[in-house]
């Protein structure tokens, strides 16, 4: 067994151990059923919820919101990053703003967004966008900063047009950072939107959890939490595999 494998199995064993412990504590009623249900029961509840069709609507709403926020932040954040990179003076003005962006608790503005955009999915997407766009912007800036200066010369001695230079030199050169931007944009969109739904919304997975909590439907609440956790894990896994493939394509893995 090689080193990487062993680490992976240690990790799996650790998590399995924790889940097993939790299972035991719940089954032995050390943790009260009203506080938390056993992990195996969460799975059963989730399957039942999915089977009943009750999961489809909130899940779809959340997916659409996250998808919209992700696409918007990636395109707009990437474009803004490129523009700001080309304008050093604008960048100097924006830098402190961007640096302190994530120190602002934007959720407090959520009611304002609702007042502006109405009680629908738009304020939720807006929250996701507000969180995710600067991450993409910062990653784009970092990526463009790290394109070695000689790459521009390579483009010029090959007599590439500006568009060719972007496509054949700049983008691939900045790709690792742009990819980090994608990862962050997804994570921030997801977090922002679930949290937004939780606070003030009439639908989506976050709302489902909050509603179940307030109406003491503990099993349903945990089933939904498990579902959100699974989405996050799957998304992370996909991005990780993709990341590894990118690295391999540079001979780095």
């Amino acid at each position: 067994m090689n080193h990487g494998r062993r680490i992976l199995w240690t990790r799996v064993a650790f998590i399995a151990g924790l889940v097993g412990l939790l299972e035991a504590l719940c089954r032995l009623h050390v943790i009260k059923p009203l506080t938390m249900i056993a992990p195996s029961q969460m799975v059963q509840e989730l399957i039942a919820l999915a089977w009943s069709g009750e999961l489809a609507e909130p899940a779809l709403q959340t997916f659409i919101e996250v998808g919209a926020s992700f696409l918007f932040s990636v395109t707009v954040g990437g474009a803004l990053g490129a523009v700001v990179h080309a304008l050093p003076r604008v960048r100097r003005t924006l830098d402190p703003l961007l640096a302190s962006w994530y120190a602002v608790p934007f959720f407090v503005f959520y009611p304002l967004l609702v007042a502006l955009l109405g009680l629908n999915v738009l304020p939720l997407i807006a929250i996701g966008v507000v969180f995710a766009t600067p991450a993409m912007m910062l990653s784009t800036l970092a990526g463009l900063d790290r394109v070695p200066r000689v790459m521009h010369k390579v483009a010029r001695v090959h007599r590439l047009s500006q568009l060719q230079e972007v496509r054949l030199i700049t983008l691939p050169s900045a790709a690792p950072h742009l990819f980090t931007g994608l990862k962050l944009s997804f994570a921030y969109s997801f977090i922002g939107i679930i949290a937004g739904e939780f606070i003030l919304s009439g639908g989506g997975l976050g709302y489902g959890i909050s509603y179940a909590y307030e109406s003491f439907e503990t099993p349903k609440m945990y089933a939904l939490m498990l579902f959100v956790l699974l989405i996050a894990l799957v998304a992370n896994g996909v991005l990780h595999v993709w990341d590894r493939r990118l690295a391999r394509r540079r001979g780095l893995a």
């Binding site: 000689v150 010369k153 390579v154 090959h158 060719q164 050169s173 394509r249 540079r250």
Partner: protein, 268 residues
């Protein structure tokens, strides 16, 4: 090779200077006059920071001269790199996301050459640079010297008529340098290209070149042009020729005071 007449000059610099603008403008180069004869092997030596890379940028059309003019094959070089000039940079300019083979094919693929021809030329250049066992490797898996060879191969496949090389063997050990020098000579003979080689190794300049330009400390100007009069058929065994010592000695005599200035110890 003996000097040729200015009439068949391949590239010409007249009164070229380059000043980098900024808060405190840096006068990096010139004024410089230079005629590169068609098919000549010309080397440039000079103290570090004297403007050698700047000379290459200006000659290739990568940056405009502040004053003066540059022409290549009779046409003024302005704003872009003319077709027919190939450049190997001092920095590592291999493309880390492409394999050795794709790196070498890079220029040809985007020039619209047909794929059979691309394959043929790429295989030849890869073999020429001794990279045939690494065609599928990525630059991150190669040594610095090998990456530089990838960049040389990438330039070769385009069959440039003027090849500019900026310290291409800087990352190589002395023995490999000598052998790569021989390869460069073979390439030069086979292609009839004009070569301008920037190097910090005086022996390398002395043994490879028809002529060596010695540059002053910044702002770089030519303070000596040394002709070697080697036969076109030559290789690294020239090092045992007594004339080799004479040429190297003359280069060092011209360069020594400039190098002292460059390290902040001007001669009394």
């Amino acid at each position: 090779m003996p000097t040729r007449k200015a009439a068949d000059a391949h590239a010409v610099l007249r009164g070229v200077t380059r000043i980098y603008p900024g808060g405190t403008p840096v006068h990096a180069l010139g004024p410089i006059d230079l005629d590169l004869a068609q098919g000549e092997f010309f080397s440039v030596v000079g103290p570090s920071g004297c403007g050698k890379s700047t000379l290459l940028d200006v000659l290739s059309g990568l940056s405009p001269p502040t004053e003066g003019s540059v022409s290549f094959e009779g046409k003024t070089v302005a704003g872009q790199v003319p077709e027919g000039i190939g450049v190997v940079f001092q920095e590592d300019a291999s493309l880390p996301w492409l394999t050795v083979r794709d790196n070498v094919a890079f220029g040809l693929r985007h020039a619209g050459t047909d794929s059979a021809e691309v394959d043929r030329r790429v295989s030849y250049a890869i073999g020429f640079m001794g990279l045939q066992d690494f065609t599928g490797a990525y630059p991150s898996q190669l040594s610095g010297g090998m990456r530089q060879r990838v960049c040389i191969a990438r330039t070769l496949v385009l069959q440039p008529r003027l090849i500019l090389l900026d310290e291409p063997f800087g990352a190589l050990d002395q023995q490999t340098r000598l052998l790569m020098g021989d390869e460069l000579l073979r390439l030069w003979r086979e292609t009839d290209a004009t070569v301008l080689l920037i190097t910090h190794a005086l022996d390398e300049a002395a043994l490879l070149s028809d002529r060596v330009g010695v540059m002053s400390a910044r702002p770089g100007r030519f303070i000596d042009l040394v002709e070697t009069s080697w036969a076109r058929e030559r290789d690294s065994r020239i090092v045992s020729d007594p004339a080799f010592g004479t040429v190297t000695g003359r280069l060092w005599a011209a360069l020594r005071p400039e190098s002292m200035k460059a390290i902040g110890r001007p001669q009394p």
